[in-house]
Subunit: 212 residues, 2 copies
DNA sequence: GATAGTGGATAGCTGTGCTCTCCATAAGCG
DNA sequence: CGCTTATGGAGAGCACAGCTATCCACTATC
């Protein structure tokens, strides 16, 4: 197929596809002439993945490129991708007092140790969690109880996530599932959380069931 | 205090504070002269909230303004804010086939009905969840099992969240806790999820415990 | 042979979140 | 008092991200 068909199947405008090709988000098609290339279903799938990571995952182009490079590695290392290649939707931007981040970081380190989580000491998620924790404190919220409860919940989620990864076929499939499940999983969980929050709030505040 | 002190206490540059004032993210200080105003601790707190919602919650300025307006309403309605005013970090951008979103929407509606969730039929989180679900399918992932598992987990989380809200004092405090807990909670959960994913992955793939 | 489409490159556009500049005025200090 | 610095307010400008538009020589298709 040529670029117009690729565009038709995915709904992505042709100039945007060309942009993604330039940015290395999409491998070049097989050249049949100096200015003719053939694309196939893998391009369709890759393009859809890019759009989903952009629109739902809200990852920047540069991050998506890195992720895709990890996906294309010859020897897939699911563990490394889960632990270090995946962004955690938090990039602090130093808006929070560095000292309280450091304190929060120690608290996270303690948490992982107490719970026996096998997590690399330099895992970026440690810092991400610390920044969020510090942010809670920055706005005057007492996050102590919540942190332990969320840690419990996170343990359950991760079991489900790894089962999801395990359901995929082959090493590349599992890697793909790890990426998709991690990035989209965040959004799915957030949306479901909104639904259940409204439910609990309706129960607690006794609001008329199904209006608004 | 004047603007320089406000800047010093929060680390936000003076021109940025002026910008937030113009954008209505920060209420004007009390004018003592045509070009002198006094700010107080509420400004400090509000400013910190804005930065945290920006940097951690990654909400756009316009959304933050709407949230703050809801926070400043005279008659705080925690339930309405939880159900409708809070963005769910998903804004589809129509990158996904509308038909599969519609199908996913029906599935979400069925899920809420089966579980007896008291959620308004027009709650935006329904659409958000549907978009993520459609995104999973768009990239060829079978999300069936995961959805039910996540729904279980979300029920637990929401109980914790409402307890967190209930721990705050006064109606405004609870509203504030609902906003902070919802937005920052997403990020905290995501970060903890990364940690536990790495842990489960280390267990599953038998990786050397604490390296990388 | 006419028309539309192609790969590739370069320049331009749009929206967001600041940042800079300017101004008349006020505060702080000797 | 006079001098320096800071202030509130407003508009223009800037940087980055993610496209979008234009152009070109060339190719496919009718």
């Amino acid at each position: 197929m040529r670029i117009a068909e690729l565009s038709r199947q995915t709904g992505v405008p042709v100039p945007t596809i060309k942009y993604y090709l330039r940015e290395g988000l999409l491998p070049a098609g097989e050249l049949t002439s100096p200015n003719q290339a053939r694309y196939d279903d893998r391009h369709v799938q890759r393009l859809r993945l890019v759009r989903v990571l952009l629109d739902i995952g809200r990852l920047p182009i540069a991050t998506i490129r890195q992720l895709l490079e990890a996906l294309d590695e010859p020897d897939p290392d699911v563990h490394h991708v889960l632990g270090h290649a995946l962004p955690s939707s938090v990039n602090g931007k130093e808006s929070i007092d560095p000292e309280s981040v450091a304190a929060a970081r120690r608290r996270i380190d303690r948490l992982t140790e107490e719970r026996g989580w096998l997590v690399g000491p330099r895992a970026p998620a440690r810092q991400a969690a610390a920044e969020v924790l510090a942010a809670f404190e920055q706005v005057g919220a007492d996050v102590g109880v919540l942190l332990e409860q969320y840690a419990d919940v996170a343990e359950t989620i991760a079991v489900h996530d790894l089962a999801f990864v395990g359901r995929a076929t082959g090493p590349e499939g599992m890697l793909y599932a790890a990426v998709v499940g991690s990035i989209l999983g965040d959004s799915l969980l957030a949306a479901l959380r909104r639904l259940t929050q409204e439910h609990e709030s309706a129960k607690k505040f006794g609001i008329r069931g199904d209006d608004c």
